[in-house]
């Protein structure tokens, strides 16, 4: 039989006590007993949970955009083997390089432009088989950025790059050196 000896409180009859040594069978103190047994003590290890602690971890992801070209230098040479008797236009293609990208921003596209303001010959580019996004139609490279891939927002993907160099026999010989820039831009 658990005996509760109150230090202070209210007796059943409403009178106050302090330091009572009596054995009052008081409902108020019965409630205290239950609180101890079923409320406080379990939290001190008599139940399942002994304690808990918390902290806060904030995860921040910056806007990230990355592009990578598989090949640094590409040479397209138009030789006699590209010429057809009776036709002014000669062409050659290169499909050895690929473009990889990653962006976690929405509504993005990839554009392309060349540094060569006045090329003698024509250089065209088209994206092949993009894993994400929509390939634009073939672009004739100029210093003005043109769409290569659209609708790539928040994705990681790759595509092939098909370059086509076109020369006219009437343009004679020469060399065009392009520095080509790919840019992830807001669509």
């Amino acid at each position: 039989m658990l005996k509760i000896v109150p230090l202070s409180g209210t007796l059943c009859d409403g009178s106050s006590v302090r330091g009572s040594k009596g054995t009052e069978d008081c409902r108020n103190y019965s409630i205290t007993v239950f609180a101890l047994l079923f409320g406080i003590l379990p939290s001190f290890g008599f139940g399942q949970t002994y304690g808990s602690a918390t902290n806060r971890i904030t995860v921040k992801v910056q806007a990230i955009t990355v592009l990578q070209i598989s090949a640094g230098i590409i040479n397209l040479s138009i030789t006699g083997s590209n010429a057809i008797a009776g036709q002014d236009q000669m062409m050659t293609t290169d499909q050895t390089s690929t473009l990889a990208w990653g962006t976690n921003s929405s509504t993005k596209k990839i554009t392309v432009n060349t540094s060569l303001a006045t090329p003698k010959f024509t250089l065209q580019l088209v994206a092949l088989n993009p894993t994400v996004g929509t390939a634009a139609s073939q672009v004739t490279l100029s210093t003005t950025a043109a769409d290569l891939l659209t609708n790539i927002g928040r994705s990681s993907g790759t595509c092939g790059l098909l370059y086509t160099a076109i020369a006219l026999a009437s343009q004679g010989t020469g060399t065009d050196a392009h520095t080509i820039t790919f840019t992830v831009a807001t669509q």
Binding site: T49, Y50, A53, K60, W101, S105, S156
Partner: protein, 146 residues
């Protein structure tokens, strides 16, 4: 006097924290990525847990509250002085508490510690904090009978 003695005993015995997390709040920032791949994950080992031996074999569970969670966060206990580290736990808002350390003995050394190794990761398709906001996890570690 009897009551005072019992209360004093309870407070002295159980009044101290049975589990505490040290190292405070942390921010983990993902800043780089791999073209054709994914953003590079970030590790944080600045926080530790201190926990106390109990009368029964016990364990520690972990759970998170992160409304509107966009990115990935996981945790694993390392350098566990007493008990067995559980496999890495993915902290997902709404998931039930999952074991972090198990089989903490009920005898021997009173105080134990472990290091909390957090890994934050994301995919490009999950977006960024500028558009979606940060993930703020309130993580709860609970010491309980196993």
């Amino acid at each position: 006097m009897t009551f005072v003695a019992v209360l004093a005993f309870l407070l002295s015995t159980f009044g101290t924290a049975q589990i505490t997390v040290n190292g405070g709040n942390q921010t983990m920032t993902i800043t780089t990525g791999v073209a054709g791949g994914q953003p590079v994950s970030v590790l944080n080992t600045s926080c530790t847990l201190s926990y106390t031996r109990q009368s029964k074999i016990s364990k520690i569970t972990v759970a998170t509250s992160c409304p509107g969670q966009s990115f990935n966060l996981s945790v694993v206990a390392t350098n566990v002085t007493r008990g067995n580290p559980a496999p890495q736990v993915s902290l997902v808002n709404g998931n039930p508490a999952t074991d972090l350390v198990t089989n903490i003995p009920n005898s021997g050394t009173r105080n134990s510690t472990c290091t909390l190794q957090f890994t934050a990761s994301s995919t490009f398709s999950q977006g960024n904090s500028t558009e979606l906001g940060n993930d703020v996890h309130t993580i709860t570690y609970t010491l309980l009978a196993q």
